[in-house]
């Protein structure tokens, strides 16, 4: 999939590019309002990531342009302005999602995956892992045709790890995805571990969970 990143902070743009490349996205970069609009005129993209505060124009105006030249693309607004007003006007203009800086690249990727599923009608088949089938869209985990009950948070945790398989996810990354960014100042506590313990317990009743690894001092990983 083709992604245009319109972000005036070059280092940040490069980091986003580096991350997305690993997940097989093809990225173009634009560091100003003008070059962003130019790129949009020249190419067709699947995703456009727009930073709202550009040196030579308002990101919301880029969005207006883009909706004309790339009507089929999905738009994600990225901003440090977490003002309610900006958020509403961004979504009004047809942005598909909204991310406040600073965000985890993991979070960006999973938002993009969610949009892709919704917008481009990509239906993923249930992912099989070990003896289990995980249907992310329908939020179902089955084993030997039997479904296993998970709480909302537990399923969110499991599916997030699964979507970023073969990657170590830190507790902070998991916490921010599941509990959001509102100020909770002690993610160091072991509630993520408690949830993982519960997940393992429920899964172990049916099969092995060797694929769900604990990486000491770092976090968790699903290896597949």
């Amino acid at each position: 999939m083709k992604v245009l990143i319109i972000e005036d902070e070059k280092t940040l743009a490069y980091e986003m590019e580096a991350f997305l490349k690993k997940s097989f996205y093809v990225c173009d970069l634009a560091h100003s309002f003008r070059s962003g609009v130019e790129q949009l005129e020249l190419n067709q993209y699947d995703f456009v990531l727009i930073d709202l505060s550009l040196p030579d124009g308002d990101g919301l105006d880029v969005l207006k342009h883009a909706k004309k030249s790339n009507p089929g693309a999905a738009y994600i607004i990225i901003t440090a302005r977490t003002n309610l007003k900006d958020r509403v006007s961004g979504l009004d203009l047809g942005a598909d999602d909204y991310l406040a800086k600073p965000f985890y690249l993991l979070e960006l990727q999973s938002r993009m995956q969610a949009i892709a599923r919704r917008k481009f009608n990509i239906t993923e088949e249930a992912i099989s892992i070990g003896e289990f089938q995980v249907d992310i869209q329908n939020r179902l985990v089955t084993c030997d045709g039997q479904s296993i009950e998970f709480s909302r948070k537990e399923f969110d945790l499991l599916s997030y790890l699964l979507l970023h398989k073969n990657r170590v996810l830190t507790r902070a990354q998991l916490s921010e995805h599941i509990w959001g960014t509102f100020v909770n100042d002690d993610y160091d506590s072991n509630y993520i571990d408690a949830h993982i313990k519960n997940i393992r317990k429920k899964l172990n009743a049916c099969g092995s969970t060797e694929w769900l690894e604990t990486v000491r001092g770092v976090g968790y990983r699903i290896r597949k």
């Binding site: 902070e9 440090a80 800086k101 100042d185 002690d186 993610y187 001092g217 770092v218 976090g219």
Partner: protein, 436 residues
């Protein structure tokens, strides 16, 4: 004391002093006027007599006699001619005693010598002193009455006028200073007055409000700028570390080091966003137009925080009417407020502790919510400072960044909620919220 009262008192007082002085001086004045007037009358009478003498000769009076004397029926006035030695001269007006028909009476006597046919005569015209001062008393009384009436009238007029003149001051205070909320509405009409001082006051206040508004908007702009300026570098650090952690060939120690760095960046991020949240609340950048049922809110929070309750095996009891409804609030902010309080109630609680949440109406009809825990409590000396930024108490326990309660306080102020804390070390803490 009110300015109008002060002015009235001052005006009345100064008038009273003048009146008292006048009243004190009145007898002397009246006496003086009467005596001056008598002197004048005596002189008039002298001129009249002398002109008659000149015209008709002295014999008109003397009728051949050596001297002449005449007095009124009650001896109040007399007139007399008598010859004196040649060369004797007198021209005075003074009080003297005269004997008339066996009565010795006090008179004001005009004595005047003049020549007639080579002989010198003395003319005396007299008026009893009693008759001179007979009008003194009634005159004084009359003057006093007139004065009192005048004073009362002028004081009443002054009072009305002072009220009228000071009215713009009242409206300046009412419209400009009382119960104002940020940002000020500067597009207001000028106060109607033709008093230059009040115009000046009004203009100065509007100017001041304008300046405050400007500072207010600048701060808001600063908040927004600061958020961008700080969040972008934090973003870069966070994303760089995130990419770094995903690199192949990182050994276990290096991974742990990267995670430690990420934690530090995360901490930086949370402190910055907490400060920004507080300043945004203080700048009133949130809308308070939602309604919410506290019961639903608490259930949502409990759901969200269940894992932490389970971690410490803490039981939570909700004693809130499901019908209770809070109006004109910001749902997200109140969620944050109660989340922080319950979060603290868990964090500082003991294993197998309890949390009580009670909502209801107090006697005066105000809605209240009390959140109590069975935790370690707050030392008495720390209690007044718990809502301060970066204030950390209970240092022995696991602490956060010291901003949780500062956020609670700013949200409470923004919603006009009175919040107080009571605590007993070792027993627990109760936060009491009163909605207005």
């Amino acid at each position: 004391m009110k300015l109008s009262t002060k002015l009235t008192l001052f005006i009345t007082g100064s008038k009273l002093v003048i009146v008292l002085l006048f009243v004190a001086a009145l007898p002397i004045l009246v006496k003086e006027i009467a005596s001056q007037y008598t002197n004048y009358t005596l002189k008039q009478q002298r001129s009249k007599v002398l002109s008659i003498v000149k015209k008709n000769g002295l014999d008109y009076y003397l009728q051949g006699e050596e001297n002449y004397g005449s007095y009124t029926l009650l001896k109040e006035e007399f007139i007399a001619f008598l010859p004196v030695k040649t060369g004797f001269s007198l021209d005075t007006i003074k009080d003297a005693q005269r004997l008339i028909e066996g009565d010795t009476l006090s008179y004001r006597v005009l004595s005047h010598t003049f020549k007639n046919k080579q002989k010198t005569y003395l003319l005396e015209i007299g008026k009893t002193t009693a008759s001179i001062h007979q009008y003194n008393k009634p005159l004084q009384r009359f003057a006093l009455y007139v004065l009192i009436t005048l004073i009362v009238m002028t004081v009443l007029i002054d009072l009305t006028f002072i009220r009228l003149i000071l009215r713009p001051l009242g409206s300046i205070i009412k419209t400009r200073l009382v119960n104002r909320v940020f940002p000020f509405d500067v597009e207001q009409k000028r106060i109607q007055t033709n008093t230059t001082d009040f115009k000046y006051l009004d203009e100065s206040l509007l100017l001041l409000m304008d300046q405050i508004n400007e500072a207010f908007y600048k701060e808001r702009e600063f908040t927004s700028n600061a958020s961008h300026e700080l969040m972008t570098p934090i973003s870069i650090l966070q994303n760089k570390l995130e990419n770094f952690l995903a690199e192949e060939g990182l050994d276990a120690n290096q991974s742990v080091a990267v995670v430690e760095m990420m934690k530090t960046v995360d901490r930086l991020k949370k402190i910055t966003s907490s400060l920004l949240l507080i300043s945004r609340i203080e700048n009133e950048q949130y809308i308070r137009k939602e309604e919410l049922r506290p019961m639903e809110l608490f259930q949502e929070i409990v759901d969200e925080i269940r894992h932490r309750l389970e971690e410490k095996n803490i039981s939570i009891s909700l004693d809130i009417s499901p019908d209770a409804l809070l109006k004109d609030v910001n749902r997200n902010l109140l969620f944050q407020l109660f989340f922080n309080l319950i979060h603290n109630a868990i964090k500082f609680n003991r294993q197998d502790g309890r949390i009580f949440i009670k909502g209801g109406r107090s006697n005066d009809g105000k809605y209240y919510i009390h959140i109590s825990d069975t935790g370690i409590g707050i030392p008495k000396e720390d209690l007044p400072f718990i809502f301060d930024r970066f204030m950390k108490t209970n240092l022995a326990a696991q602490v956060g960044y010291g901003l949780g309660l500062a956020i609670v306080k700013s949200i409470a102020i923004y919603h006009r909620i009175q919040i107080t804390a009571e605590s007993e070390p070792g027993k627990g803490t109760t936060f009491k919220l009163r909605f207005n």
